[in-house]
Assembly symmetry: C2
Homo-oligomer: 322 residues x 2
């Protein structure tokens, strides 16, 4: 079985770990969001790719969900002693090594997809991890504060301001002109199903879908999503702030509608949202809290099962029509 | 009193610390060797500038003479886990921060001299530290081993091979076309004396003097050098391997002759070399082992005193001639 997942950071990575446990025999390709990549201290940082890589490779800081386990912050402290910031982005010493290797390879002319593959040689994540694009796409957020109305990098809004200032709009700058990274469209085409983990629907999955070609390729497949919203609130993170910015209600139903008809075939919602119905989408409810490994694997299993069921139904319908 | 010192790494830095103690009122400008600078992991590393900066700024690892005190090696271990080397160059976490700041500034378009000034803002070395040039000069060493005859970067010969393979020749690649960094010539011109600490006469002071304009500017001043050779052996480091490579005997006398007449006015040699005479150069003997702070300050004091004495003699001679 071949599965493609579009993934953001923490939620996506944890879902993927459950997916590997649930269907260890599946060949999983992960298309990672790069819209929140940022250059810090002259180094290229890819938070979502790294969170997936570290989580599946056994190097993640389990409590915080991002960054390396057993981390130290000597380099960051020294940079601060030089008066060099930003201080608000938590790069640890182990993490720095990843960014140093990545930056050196990028400067040597390798594409991000090749660099990611090289980094994964160490981590053996058990999935094929491909950035959505090798081109630069940067999620910018328009905010208004005492300094006036201005666009800031997503990370500045998300990490520095903790999304406490309302976003007036969110844009994936550069997405229109970006091309899917090598292997992205072929993996989707070859997939038995495409899954959307409970990642941020706006700045993670939405950004991946904004790369021309990816949305159409995904729409041609059986697609099952896992709602990141339970009972009107994001399971973790601040997805509500992103949804509000684009005028979408924070609800399991609204997110399914945001993805749009013709894209999602199945939608897993939490038992708290058992009454959700979306026309044209097969909505199923079940516990969606990824509270431990077993619960997470069960969610992934349910997503795969629903996808297989919907695919079989579709095939039968196609056969009946012949 | 204005003093200019040409300096390499460990020996130069320790002498400078003694100089500051001996003549705290003096305005000292240090012209640092950049010939052994190297790019590692995509970062620009300036070993000699950093050794001077860390030593005078109180951040040096006293035992080894280079690198930071209280150092850890997490980043390096992580790079090795990615299979990224070289492993033979010992960059610690604190040290990495310096190279990250430097590289980021260089990539932003600042010249090395401006970057060095910015780094010194933190370290307050109590001297003005200027790289010999903002242009790229790299000391290459021709060696012959099982891989055949080839040129390697100075650091590969010095650090990786520990100078154990004989150098067939040594060249400061790029020196001919290099220009002295802003402030270098003006500082020499304004100086009451120029001192050569017991730095490596070939790959440190020799390289600085190879930048067009510097040798002539220095020659016009009262110049006193401190011999890095005591009793036919280098006090520390492997200066003998460098001298042999250029066909010069490892002796206090041969080094003075290497600098050449018209450059050195005075030459401090150790008591073990009390019989050394060099035509046209005022040679004085005294204990030259920089065994502790007091001994080092006394050596620096002796160099300054000799320079002042020679300058006074010269001035008197000039007045008498009028």
């Amino acid at each position: 079985m071949k599965i493609v997942c579009l993934a953001g950071g923490i939620g996506g990575a944890r879902f993927l770990r459950g997916l590997r446990e649930a269907v260890p025999e599946a060949e999983v390709t992960v298309i990672g969001n790069t819209g929140d990549d940022i250059s810090l201290f002259g180094l290229r940082v890819c938070p979502d790719l790294d969170t997936v890589m570290y989580t599946l490779g056994g190097g993640i800081n389990e409590e915080q969900g991002w960054g390396r386990s057993d981390e130290t912050f000597t380099v960051k402290e020294e940079l601060a002693a030089y008066g060099v910031g930003p201080a608000w982005f938590g790069l640890g010493d182990r993490d720095f090594a990843t960014h140093i290797v990545r930056t050196q390879m990028l400067e040597a002319g390798y594409k991000l997809s090749a660099v990611t593959e090289a980094l994964c040689d160490r981590w053996n994540p058990g999935v094929r991890l491909i950035p959505m694009t090798d081109d630069q796409v940067e999620t910018h957020v328009v905010i208004e504060d005492e300094k006036g109305r201005r666009a800031v990098h997503f990370q500045e809004w998300w990490v520095r301001l903790r999304a406490s200032v309302p976003a007036l709009s969110i844009a994936a700058v550069g997405a229109e002109d970006a091309k899917p990274a090598p292997g992205v469209l072929a993996a989707i085409e070859a997939a038995d199903a495409v899954l959307f983990p409970p990642s941020n629907p706006v700045v993670s999955i939405g950004t991946i879908l904004a790369v021309p070609g990816i949305r159409d390729a995904v729409a041609a497949k059986t697609v099952v999503g896992v709602s990141p919203i339970i009972g009107g609130a994001p399971v973790r993170g601040m997805a509500d702030a992103c949804l509000t910015a684009i005028g979408v209600e924070t609800s399991a139903r609204a997110v399914a509608e945001l993805y749009g008809l013709g894209l999602l075939d199945g939608w897993l919602v939490d038992e708290a949202d058992a009454d959700v119905r979306v026309e044209g989408i097969d909505v199923r409810s079940r516990p969606l809290l990824m509270s431990d490994a077993a619960a997470t694997a069960a969610i992934a299993r349910a997503a795969v099962d629903l996808a297989m069921e919907l695919k079989a139904t579709e095939q039968k319908r196609a056969e009946d029509a012949e």
